[in-house]
Amino acid sequence: MQQNPMTVITEILPDKLKELEDYLGPIGTDIKNNPVIKFADYQYLHYCTFFVIPGDHPSPGSSPTPALLAFEANIDGTAKQFVNDLIAKNPEFVNKVYGCCAGYPGNDAGQLASFLLTNDHGANAFYVAHPGQTRDTVYRQRDIRQQIETYIDANRDSLATQDPAAIHAAIVQQLGNIPKPENRPFLTLYGDKLFTGLLWTLGLVLVGGFFGFFGPFVEFLVVLALVAAVVYLLALRWHEMRDKQDDTPWVKTKEREAIQRVEDRQLQNHLTSVIEIKPGAFRFYTLKIVLAAINLVAKLVATKGNLSGIVTIHFARWVILPGNAGGRRRLLFMSNYDGSWENYLGEFIDHASLGLTAVWSSTQQAKDRGFPDTQWLAIKGGSRDEQRFKNFARNSQLPELVWYSAYTDLSVKNIENNRHIHEGLFSTADLAAWLKCL
């Protein structure tokens, strides 16, 4: 089953903001045992968050924009299936939350579901560490590993005297009847080859077209594309030279403290970032294209728990927020990751500066408070300026009211390893290497 992003964004009625926060806050502080909702009951749900995007006051004269409620869910299957399940199991929760939002249709289940689905903005780019792994699969494989480890703990001395094939056979026999793992999705297996093929085709068309191998019309188109690329790059540099990076100092603020208070308390963290897109169509469409490219890479290449060298992200998404109050558009980024914030940002800088600078170099905190100076979209500068980048990221962060993880005890690497262990039960190839997974 495919994993999908659901991002429901609704306007909060101004006089209901506090009521909403008071309702969701206590759920967030006691995510497991709160009396309102038990997220573990939803078998399609991997991670979800609720948070408020504060209303802002753009340029004087224009009316302030209302605060928004964002509901992020990382789910197995379709949003429709999940929403129906959610409303069927806990209508009171859904009604209470969305009763605080503009456009609430009342408590009719069908209308409520369609209200949520209408306001679902999905994602402009979506990354899944392990495509095809449903929550139940993750749970099952965790159990399988646990059973094997317990068996080895109790019998290590006698097992270790045998050869790998005999140990494997003993483990398989011990486990008894275990269902075979599902095949990995087509794109996980062949996506990277498809991607390489696409790049080669594009390269061939460009080079061959330029030298006239495909006739004058294609040659004309290629030259046109090259001219357009040069014009684009010049325009980009023109914009970049006028951008100003954010140079305001680090300050201990209430907002930052609120974010840190819940951070690094357990294995995983959630990062919510809302940032303004630099004004003008040029930056907006640049960003859209970059996000489309990242989405393509995520679908085809980054399908094995590794997003351009970052091995700690379970799910991540970028969403361009609807509306452009006062001419300002905003970019929303949400990520569920392993380890500390410091490590996460460090991994971004160490391994993925190209991709992330390509995205965020089109954004700013506010006028004249832009992303760290960047040259050629992502080639130089940007997030490589470690401290400015971390500061920029911190300043764009929002605290969550509710954050749920279906498996706080599993890292991205654990899930991959568990799957490997499960698969290895049904194979006799390279058993010595398989035993190293245990």
């Binding site: 703990d153 460090g346 470690e386």
Partner: protein, 451 residues
Amino acid sequence: MTTIDKLEDVQGIVFSGYNKYMANCSYYLLQIDDAGKTKPWLKNLVEQNQISHGADKPTDETENRINLALSYSGFEKLQLDKDSLYSFELSFQEGMDSEHRSALLGDRGINDPSAWDWGSGAKRVDLLFILFSKNDAIHNASQKYHEKAFKGAGLSVVQRLDAGEKKQDANGFTLEHFGFADGISDPQVDGFPSTSGAGEIATGEFLLGYPNQYDGKLTKMPQLGAVGEAFGKNGTYLVLRQLKQDVGAFWQFMEEEAARQGITTDYLASKFVGRWKSGAVVEPNQDTDPGKVDNSFNFTKDPHGTGCPLGSHIRRANPRAVGLGATAEEALKVANRHRILRRGRSYGNFLENPVKDDGKERGLLFICLNANIERQFEFVQHTWINSVKFAGLYDEDDPLIGSGVAENRNFTIQDEPLRRRVCGFQQFVTTRGGSYFFLPSLSALGLLGNS
């Protein structure tokens, strides 16, 4: 290659722990009661050349060395303005005993700051005064002299920590209390007087105002009013933690567990540490201590940890060239962005019979220097030492110094054909106190004294 502008502006402890010439050392943890008196005292220390610096190398004749650092509350009490206070990094502003920092550092349960001997609550520390002396007689006299001076300087002593008995092994390495050679792996820092050639780590990782490991960028420096960043230059952050070592329990456990698993005690203990007692890294298919120490390994010959286990102490403290990147070169680049420079000493006497506890306290006065606490010391502590998911593992923290979370006290020893596992063992190292300090340059200390 980087050149340090003025060695005489940098406090001496940056370059050396004075282990060779200074046999004695006391760490005074002080509170400022009357800043009006503290400032002239500080001014005097600087003007009378009492603070040791990088250009005055000790010799056989040298009697004392003094270094001095301040915590955030210390700077507050010296009445720095708000902007200057905000220019320090956030971890320093919050303090080691704050809730967020404690969570990051694993100071939970019996490590919790509320149970510390010093460093939290009413026993927070403003100032760290480090006194080194050549021998006992000089140390006693110097202690008396300075303790008297503290009274006149509006300072009260929260705690005095004395470095303890010293032991060296046949190779000349200092031993820590568990009996392992220590201090083998301090980084060769570019531009330091003791470093020949370019060094492996950029100057700016340990001294502010110089290029760091991010393509030579400058790490943010604290500022002071009109003086600006010149205040922070040639200074660095200093982390001090008092780590109690439970030597008797450690070796008792090793004996029992080794007997249960049918292996030798030293073999098991070395797997925990990742090094044999001599300091030699544990290599695959090795059953006894080779006795010779070669520190040039980078784990590429032991990627699966069948020699030095993936979760062992030294692999966590510095993963070197395996695990943090697709290639050895990339992994090393990442690992080298999180290095620390150790300058501490042991305290207490060595336990005579390692398996029989004598009820006395002993351990490590851990000191490290770094230009960015969050990216260096805290990162190592959180992402490597205490992380149960380090190197793809599941439910274990550092077996030697890991935090007091009972369910994480497990350890996997990779082996062929099948791993060994040790489960549910106790904590051997306990945090008894700690604080973040800033170690200013001599000129910055002068400015503080004159402010």
